[in-house]
């Protein structure tokens, strides 16, 4: 018998250890119940993040009827911006002395530069011209962008101050908001610059443009003066502790576990809780507010919505900003759970984004509640497939289900199949 394992644990295992296992003092690392619970928790945690990303895909598809391939890159940007801002604010788990303003990667400076330069430019050149006239749509957009950039910079500074004051958890929240604001601005800009001119172009062109933007964001992020090609370790911005341990067994309270228990971590609870709060807020926004009604109207018929006096451009921009902010939140939470940040063009990121898209399709694309359901389902499918079937085929399960759903019920679970009319 292996002496490290000690005597048999007091609690009966299920399934009971076989004779040879008992003879060697060997116990499986998980019993059936614990393995199931752990898989369920992992699946739900990652599934809720998929759902957050899927919401952005589904909202854009619902309104503009194209797949925003760049959405997964906004998610990656959200993770990296929160890393950059965290370094700026003084968080660095590995080397606290190295964190600070000097260590802040370039993109944080872009935030300030963007905000400051456009503000100055507006004051010097713009204001005199605008005197006595109502602001044009583009001027208003510019003003909004500048205000937004300043808000980002403010949140980054707030995070720095809070971290200095020892309120690191609140500082983490400020970084989350900063990342969301930044990505919202990026989403807004992308829509205005690249997608708006193509509003009436064939859908294939918009799709190709989206792929182009995706490639652009990935490869810009890889440049040395941006985030670089080395993977980085995300500092922990949220508190983590083991809240509860379910099951498991060990010979005495201070001995090693012979059967690992299911650990409910505070980080997982916060991540899933934030995701759920954001999703509830979005649901509330879409179904119970004026702008939400406008979004649904534009999604139903852009032309008729315009005839009813709905500012279609503004609603579309708002949708992009909203989707990008949710993706950024997902990026932040993902980076907190899986702390190794790969380079922006890493296939891991792309696959994550694609799986979130699969979630949107499975739930019924264009349907907001469908995206939430699809995200959870895909997360569960992935983790249960890995735990109970062949682990290497992780991606095959997801894409297999996608093809199956598309063939059997192309509208998705909650979606409706519309017949195309002439």
């Amino acid at each position: 018998m292996d002496s490290r394992l000690g005597p048999a644990p007091p609690r009966a295992h299920w399934p009971p250890p076989r004779a040879h296992e008992q003879a060697r003092g060997y116990y499986p690392p998980f019993t059936v119940l614990e393995k199931f619970l752990q898989t369920l928790m992992d699946g739900l945690a990652v599934g809720s993040l998929y759902a957050l990303i899927a919401l952005g895909y589904t909202m854009v598809y619902g309104i503009l009827k194209f797949i925003n391939f760049a959405h997964s890159d906004i998610f990656v940007l959200g993770a990296w911006i929160s890393y950059a801002t965290a370094l700026f604010a003084g968080y660095n788990d590995l080397d606290p002395a190295a964190a600070g303003i000097q260590a802040a990667p370039f993109p944080v400076w872009v935030l300030y530069g963007l905000g400051g330069a456009t503000f100055v430019a507006l004051v010097v050149a713009g204001i005199p011209k605008l005197q006595g006239r109502p602001l044009s749509e583009s001027a208003r957009a510019l003003l909004l962008g500048v205000t937004w950039a300043w808000a980002c910079a403010g949140m980054a500074l707030a995070a720095r101050v809070l971290q200095g004051a020892g309120w690191s958890i609140v500082g983490g929240g400020a970084i989350l908001i900063c990342s969301m604001l930044t990505c919202g601005l990026v989403g807004f800009t992308l829509e205005r610059v690249a997608y708006k001119p193509l509003r009436n172009a064939p859908r294939l062109n918009v799709l190709i443009t989206a792929i182009g933007i995706s490639l652009l964001l990935q490869n810009l992020g890889q440049l040395e003066w941006m985030f670089g090609t080395r993977p980085q370790g995300m500092p922990s911005l949220l508190p983590d502790a083991v809240l509860a341990e379910i099951g498991g067994s060990r010979p005495s309270p201070d001995a090693d576990w012979t059967v690992q228990p299911v650990r409910i971590r505070l980080l997982d609870v916060i991540a899933a809780g934030t995701a759920i709060v954001l999703m509830l807020a979005l649901d509330r926004l879409v179904f119970h507010t004026k702008i939400g009604r406008a979004m649904r109207a534009v999604s139903f018929s852009e032309r008729n919505a315009a005839l009813m006096g709905i500012p279609v451009d503004r609603v579309i921009s708002f949708t992009f900003v909203l989707g990008s902010m949710l993706a950024a939140a997902a990026g932040f939470l993902y980076a907190q759970k899986y702390t190794k940040l790969g380079q922006t063009a890493d296939t891991v990121w792309v696959l994550l984004g694609l799986k979130a898209f699969v979630a949107a399709v499975v739930g019924g694309i264009g349907n907001i509640r469908g995206a939430m359901l699809g995200g959870i389902l895909i997360g569960l499918l992935e983790f249960f497939g890995v735990a109970y079937l062949i682990p290497q085929l992780r991606d095959v399960y997801v894409f297999g289900v996608l093809i199956l759903v598309l063939l059997v019920r192309p509208g998705g679970i909650l979606g409706s199949t519309a017949v195309e009319k002439v």
């Binding site: 294939l204 490639l215 792309v350 093809i403 063939l407």
Partner: protein, 390 residues
């Protein structure tokens, strides 16, 4: 409604014998030109020291031309959006690699290059014009194409129900599934002649190297094979574009509903386009697998490779054969020229793609060929005239 092309051709066309000659002769000419390319280029570019850099570029350009033109059949002519083209390449490449590698073992007991003059890029070696190994390589290439075509049929089937973005996602999902399966579900490459002789064929088919890649392949790819495939591909694409078959494909691109109303069996034509495109991509994959300096690995044939091919097709012009060729040439040579600023290369590509879509949504040449006046009207400033430009 059934589409019978042959009956009309036999009623109106020239005598059968002449049309047979006219049909086959260009293919024979392709073979002749490819032989010339091999015989003329090889002494210049291959020395005892190895390959000249230009030789490698010429081969890569050829393979990319085949990939771009074959994708043009689906994305350009038929208007379906496939973003899993590299998967067909992977399927064809791995099939051909298994046949060549294990076939060589079965025939000669080793995997060494034993091709004739046409498929050998070695110098100072007396070889006949044609050996049984060349036949093995040809069979392997065609088999790779056929297996890829079967996959193309499978991927084309969902186009019964799916359109546009959805089909794109299915092709993407298919590509990922192929990649993951090859990487995780195949065993190590065998290299012991005894072991290979005793292993049944179905087991050999599963020994493709897994995530390490298929190593130890003989380098059969030569100017002859590459440019034979290039010329045949161009000939096929050109003939399709200028036939009623191709017009049926183009009508699907322009308006699927109208096309169906005019009696085009859209599903069948879409599947055919997929099958042919996949076949050519599979053959190109076979050539890619046996190129000098290439380690066949499914990890490199993921969606990044697919996007590379798409960029060639889109920049050249969706529906333009010569555009795809030009874009393939430029985008193969450009990265080498931009080696000094390699990290900005992809950024520049992405910007070029976006700007192209905003400024000239149909690509550089649109649906026209490079020698047609309409392709240049936009450049010469005639695009403001009504009806010109596009």
């Amino acid at each position: 409604m059934a589409w019978s092309l042959s009956s009309r051709a036999s009623q109106l066309g020239p005598p059968a014998a002449w049309s047979l000659v006219r049909g086959v002769l260009p293919f024979l000419a392709c073979v002749a030109v490819a032989i010339l390319a091999q015989v003329i280029l090889k002494p210049f570019l291959i020395t005892t020291l190895g390959w000249d850099f230009a030789a490698k570029m010429i081969v890569d350009v050829g393979i990319n031309i085949v990939l771009a033109v074959s994708l043009t059949l689906v994305n350009g002519f038929t208007g379906q959006f496939s973003i899993g083209h590299a998967a067909f390449m992977a399927v064809g490449g791995y099939t051909a690699a298994a046949i060549v590698y294990y076939g060589s073992y079965r025939i000669a007991g080793n995997p060494d290059l034993a091709g004739g003059v046409l498929s050998s890029m070695l110098v100072g070696r007396e070889a006949p014009w044609f050996t049984p190994h060349d036949l093995l390589f040809l069979v392997a290439m065609l088999a790779g194409g056929v297996v890829a075509a079967l996959c193309g049929y499978l991927v084309g089937l969902p186009s019964l129900r799916l359109k546009g973005d959805y089909l794109a996602i299915v092709t993407l999902g298919f590509g990922e599934i192929v990649r993951v399966l090859i990487q995780s579900q195949t065993g190590d490459v065998l290299y012991d002649p005894e072991e290979i002789a005793q292993t049944p064929a179905w087991k050999l088919a599963g020994s493709l190297g897994g995530s390490l890649g298929f190593s130890g392949l003989p380098f059969y790819t030569s100017f002859f094979w590459v440019y034979l495939l290039v010329l045949v591909t161009l000939l096929l694409a050109w003939r399709i574009k200028n036939s009623s078959y191709g017009r049926a494909l183009i009508s699907i691109r322009e308006d699927e509903i109208a096309s169906e109303a005019m009696g085009v069996d859209t599903t069948r034509f879409k599947i055919r386009a997929f099958v042919l495109s996949a076949f050519l991509a599979g053959c190109a994959g076979a050539l890619f697998a046996h190129t000098v300096g290439v380690q066949l690995n499914a990890a490199e044939l993921g969606f990044v490779k697919s996007f590379d091919i798409i960029i060639m097709v889109v920049l050249g012009g969706l529906g333009s054969i010569s555009g795809a060729v030009i874009a393939a040439i430029i985008l193969t040579i450009l990265p080498e020229a931009l080696r000094g600023v390699a990290e900005y290369r992809m950024v520049a590509y992405a910007v070029a793609l976006i700007v192209m879509m905003l400024v000239r949504p149909k690509g550089l040449l649109g649906v026209h060929e490079v020698w047609e006046r309409a392709a240049w009207d936009w450049l010469l400033g005639a695009s403001k005239r009504k009806g010109a430009g596009r």
